[in-house]
């Protein structure tokens, strides 16, 4: 009985040992990169939270004192509250807009590709440019929006001075920048809804909004939830737009957790406090992602036996 032996394997044992290592060698670069740049520093950051450390100051162990300081800091709670409000407003606006535009575009227009390109254009805009853009448009004295508002007799938007206006403006910017993301996910989902379902419903006499409510919406709900979760996690991290535009002002009205972290770490150089805030952020992120992570664990690890 002949046994098919591969030509290129004269040293069977050594090769098969190597062969078993192959996949691990292949994933080594990725895992190494992640470990060295992400995981290890994250533990480092966690550790920093228990020290008092700054420029010109050697690290000294302070136990839970940083936590006490942070939780006693009114600016922390202000930032936390602002973040909660901000994230919720932004995310639901983005989902709403993304879904609305997705449904609209699903009706197929002439030059469809062109319109889709336009809708996702904001994705190419960096935070700095977006701030520049909207600062230009919202220039208090000479900008277009205030001119228009003046024509209609409405008070101008003074986002540098009025806290509520500032908050609204950063919300606007975040939504503008991120709607392409939700749009793309939801568009794919809407397009994936089977036509037969619509036909069947139409035969039953359903029209327009009813079709949306009873066919489209339930069918895309999984995608909506996915988009929702991802946007929650990413909106929570918002930093660049707010930092460049308002630095958390005026009067701390746009101060977010990320801004609070940055300011304590890189303006006051109090790395211990900043690290404590970082831990809080990671904890909240883990909470927000817990559903995703649990699902991931189930499908990948537990059920993949």
């Amino acid at each position: 009985m002949a046994v098919l032996v591969p030509k290129s394997e004269p040293h069977a044992n050594r090769s098969s040992r190597l062969a078993r290592l192959v996949p691990y060698l292949l994933i080594a670069p990725v895992q190494l990169l992640l470990l060295v740049v992400l995981v290890a520093p994250s533990f480092g950051a966690a550790g920093l939270a228990f020290f008092r450390t700054s420029f010109g100051l050697d690290a000294t162990w302070v136990g839970l004192e940083n936590f006490r300081t942070v939780f006693a800091d009114y600016r922390f709670w202000n930032a936390l509250w602002n973040t909660v409000v901000f994230v919720n407003v932004v995310v639901y606006l983005e989902i709403f807009l993304g879904l609305a535009i997705a449904v609209l575009l699903a009706t197929q227009f002439r030059l469809q590709k062109l319109w889709i390109s336009v809708i996702i254009a904001p994705y190419a805009v960096s935070a700095v440019i977006a701030v520049l853009m909207w600062k230009f448009i919202l220039e208090p004295d000479t900008g277009f929006v205030n001119y228009l508002l003046g024509l209609v007799g409405i008070e101008p938007i003074l986002w540098t001075v009025i806290p509520l206006h500032a908050f609204a403006v950063v919300v606007l910017l975040e939504v503008w920048l991120n709607t392409p993301f939700t749009f793309l996910i939801l568009y794919a989902a809407v397009m994936g809804v089977s036509q037969e379902l619509y036909e069947a419903a139409r035969i039953d006499g359903a029209r327009g909004f009813q079709l949306f409510r009873f066919i489209t919406l339930p069918s895309v709900m999984p995608a909506v939830l996915v988009a929702l979760m991802f946007r929650y996690i990413f909106a929570f991290r918002t930093f660049e737009v707010v930092w460049i535009m308002t630095q958390g002002g005026p009067l701390g009205s746009t101060d977010l957790l990320s801004i609070y972290l940055f300011r304590n770490g890189f303006r006051y150089y109090d790395f211990g406090i900043a690290a404590t805030t970082a831990l809080v952020m990671v904890a909240v992120t883990a909470l927000l992602a817990s559903v995703y992570l649990w699902n991931l664990y189930r499908t990948m690890v537990r059920d993949a036996r």
Binding site: V22, S42, V128, I129, V282, A289
Partner: protein, 277 residues
């Protein structure tokens, strides 16, 4: 889906016009205004017809000579990050596609879970480390950081594309005596080259746009465009809109063109990246 009777049709197009206006108007306004003479930049309504002038671009490069090098830095860092991402995620993607084991599954889970970390968190410990390694103000530090945050997604997207390549090709290549690397490079990659684009697209966009790491870890030699533009925005002597708009246009347009070109890869990548995981 919806009926196409005339009034409904008109409403559709009106809504589309609104959506298009919302997305495009700010961009068009900025690009257009960068070519307008200073005294016409703020005129309302913004006229569509005007004699374009390049004066702001000239002023930009004359008065801010530090701007042009930052564009090059952005380009270097973007290319580098894309290359590094590909370099590490393609082999990994192949491994996850073709092999199975407990360890692999756990590592994949870890890789995807780690995506959840807010980038700002690692700036704190990395700050002194980067300085100690003398990587402060180098392209390398940004390349590594950018790549790290996208290798997970990149690997996952690439894996989905490699999954499409039939296993038989692997087998026949191995029978022909090919090593794994040869197999990867000559067989798998060419057949999944759309995957390459789809997996690298996100890190390219991110690298060109990114601000936080560039701001913290570079100062002059490796400063990227977003960081320098933010300095110009907060400039001490009041805002000079003309050159600023020119700078915005220069930074924005290349990426805009790129995004439009790779549109369908974005969609593919997003769908893969968000389903199941």
């Amino acid at each position: 889906m919806l009926g196409r009777r005339a009034p409904e049709n008109a409403v559709r197009w009106l809504l589309l016009a609104l959506a298009v206006f919302w997305s495009a108007a700010p961009i068009v306004l900025v690009v257009q205004s960068s070519f307008k003479a200073s005294n016409r930049i703020f005129e309302f309504p913004p006229s569509l017809w005007f004699t374009p002038t390049f004066e702001h671009y000239v002023t930009l490069f004359r008065q801010w000579p530090e701007f042009a090098p930052t564009l090059l830095n952005s380009a270097i860092v973007t290319l580098g990050a894309g290359a590094l991402t590909l370099l590490v995620s393609v082999p990994a993607a192949y491994a996850y596609s073709r092999y199975r084991s407990r360890l692999l599954t756990w590592s994949a889970f870890g890789m995807l879970a780690v995506r959840m970390f807010p980038p700002i968190v690692i700036t704190l410990p990395l700050y002194p480390v980067v300085r100690a390694l003398n990587l402060q103000d180098t392209h390398l530090v940004l390349i590594i950081l950018y790549a790290t945050f996208f290798v997970s997604l990149s690997t996952w997207v690439m894996k989905a594309f490699i999954d499409e390549v039939p296993l038989e090709l692997d087998e026949s290549a191995k029978l022909d005596g090919a090593s794994v690397l040869q197999l990867l490079f000559w067989i798998i990659l060419p057949l999944s080259r759309h995957g390459i684009v789809a997996s690298v697209v996100f890190v390219v966009v991110y690298a060109w746009k990114e601000f936080l790491f560039a701001f913290l870890f570079t100062t002059s030699a490796a400063r990227t465009a977003p960081a320098i533009i933010s300095e110009m925005l907060g400039s001490v002597t009041g805002v000079a809109w003309g050159p600023l708009l020119a700078a915005a246009t220069v930074q924005l347009v290349p990426l805009l063109v790129f995004v439009l070109l790779v549109q369908r890869f974005l969609v593919k990548g997003l769908t893969i990246g968000s389903t199941k995981g």
